[in-house]
Symmetry: C2
Subunit: 364 residues, 2 copies
């Protein structure tokens, strides 16, 4: 009875919890090597302040409670990036730009998001605040790819999108009176719907798939050259990670990228049905009301759980093994498991090896 957990919550047991911790350490270690320093915002903060930096409506799914100290409503964070943006804009507002920040932490939701039953999620990532240039995106996409490789995630693929593509075209060479509807039809790959609203946009549906041919189609489609700088930038970003990942392009994909500016990307690994992370360029609201550009990525650590196999060799130390032997073996990298009473056995302690008469023997 007491073993039951609410839907969307779970215990992570050995060896999965160690494996998940190791993955986080490796991801954040790559981030750190590129100068991303860690910030660690609190689990809860004032709900109204948090709401200003969350996607519209996101607070509805947050756990909220009245704080007996302030008598105000607090919310448990449903997302960490909003807090990192707050830190960058406020307490680190004086720091010269760009600021490179990394983070890892748990998030909680009252209701599970679509496509996933989880209500507690572990989120980690990097944010580069102050720039959304091609150089910034090259770095961020590169760090994401290298971090996933370090975490043991094989078969990485990156799907790029251009979230403001339709707006840019509609405001320029291809005017359209129903932009919202057009975006929805393009997002759904609904050729009939697109043809009914703005047939000039139909080639965009075809300009999706493996990166190079899709980009070539986009360049042909962009007869007026209004997209040239974006496409050049996208190509430069793709070149930076072409050796690390399979690349695809879905230029009109908008779902989940509503808050990204010119660039978005989703990260997938082999064998994973869902994306393991996403990122792109966006804007951060400064305390003075101005906006500043930013680029970042977030990984959903739970999706990476099975990617890294840890060394689980365990060396059993029989009763009365000298303490110095154990200390030396641990220094040599062994996990030692000491017998604490006469009946203890290597098998009961899931040990792969035994320390016997001064040498390591494999358990047969």
């Amino acid at each position: 009875m007491s073993a039951l957990l609410p839907e969307g919550f779970r215990d992570r047991l050995p060896p999965h919890a160690d494996s998940a911790a190791e993955i986080e350490t490796r991801v954040l270690s790559v981030a750190r090597s590129y100068g991303y320093e860690r910030v660690d915002p609190p689990l809860a903060e004032f709900a109204d302040g948090l709401a200003t930096r969350l996607k519209a409506g996101a607070l509805r799914d947050a756990v909220r409670f009245v704080d007996p100290v302030s008598q105000r409503t607090l919310a448990i964070r449903p997302d960490l990036t909003a807090q990192v943006a707050r830190v960058a804009a406020t307490r680190m507002g004086h720091h010269p730009r760009p600021v490179r920040l990394s983070y890892a932490g748990s998030t909680l939701r009252l209701r599970a998001p679509e496509l996933s039953p989880k209500r507690e999620r572990r989120q980690l990532g990097c944010e580069l605040i102050g720039l959304d240039s091609v150089a910034a995106a090259r770095e961020v996409v590169g760090v994401a790819a290298e971090a996933l490789a370090a975490a043991g995630a094989g078969g990485l693929s990156i799907d790029f999108t251009l979230p403001d593509l339709v707006d840019t075209l509609a405001a320029g060479p291809l005017p359209c009176a129903q932009v919202d509807e057009l975006r929805a039809r393009l997002d759904a790959k609904d050729a009939g719907g697109v043809a009914a609203i703005a047939p000039a946009y139909l080639p965009l549906i075809e300009a999706a798939g493996p990166f190079d041919p899709a980009l070539a189609k986009l360049r042909v489609f962009d007869a007026t050259g209004v997209l040239t700088s974006r496409l050049d930038g996208l190509q430069a970003i793709a070149e930076a990670v072409s050796g690390l990942a399979t690349l695809t392009l879905d230029p009109t994909e908008r779902h989940g990228f509503e808050y990204q500016s010119w660039l978005g990307f989703s990260l997938f690994v082999a064998g994973g049905p869902r994306e393991v992370g996403r990122g792109g360029t966006y804007t951060v609201l400064r305390e003075d009301g101005a906006e500043e550009p930013a680029t970042g990525f977030t990984l959903y650590a739970d999706q990476l759980g099975q990617a890294t196999a840890l060394d689980r060799r365990r060396l059993f130390l029989p009763l009365s093994t000298p303490a110095e032997d154990g200390a030396r073996l641990r220094r040599e990298g062994w996990v030692t498991v000491a017998a604490l009473e006469p009946g203890d056995t290597p098998e009961a302690q899931l040990c792969t090896h035994v320390w016997r008469e001064g040498s390591v023997e494999a358990v047969s």
Copy 2:
């Protein structure tokens, strides 16, 4: 305005967040080397189930909310050890004993505990479930001491207590009708109060302080020998860590050890006003209603925050530094910070070194 956080919550900024993460990694790495594998229970679970394993009344200070999915009350954990005990008793109930588990996670309280304004705390530790013997306690106290040393905490001192001492004496050679009141007077070091209730217990007030003389006084006090096995055990545990810490003994200290059985200990580090952790022997409720012995320790990571100074050398890579140079320097252990636009400087990026014409130069 949006920078304000509720009382008892805070942002951890660079370099403190990296430092705190490094401390956790080091503590858990020592635990792992002794065979303690990590478990990671969820932030929230059913409030009634959690309450059965928390100290009486602890749920009052937990953040609770109604789960829209189950329509039952959930609680955010105010403490992690209750969850670890649940995992050991239920999902790992079939595992041969002893089971060695480690954990690290955040806890949340509606109201701050006494002596500390913090409402979110980071808790990490080890639990050895299935044994509360002297051998078990020697291992657990030793792991705690080694973990704190690895985390850079200097000047460790360990204060031991014997939580069931008074009960043992009152049930044996020194009967006392007012045991609860006697314990409270002893805990308060109130000699007058002790004399009024049971003057035979007065020597216990003096048997506190540096470990060896205090233990010697206890041995003299224990004329009937009812405490001999406990005192021998305590001495053996103390010998195991005598080289790693300053040891004290406060045999009647009960505060916060109400749930410990025969042994309790508090951990202090130099310069810290409050304890950085505590531990001892206790019992875990199994699913079949039986109890099993256990031994463990918990560290309050926030109290260790300043103990470890990280290397903050950062190497600035000017614009157009070849990607291979950066990759090689990171492999060599450098944190590299790449210029992403012409105006960027090593100073703005808080860099200590610059990569210039193929060599590392210190920023003057």
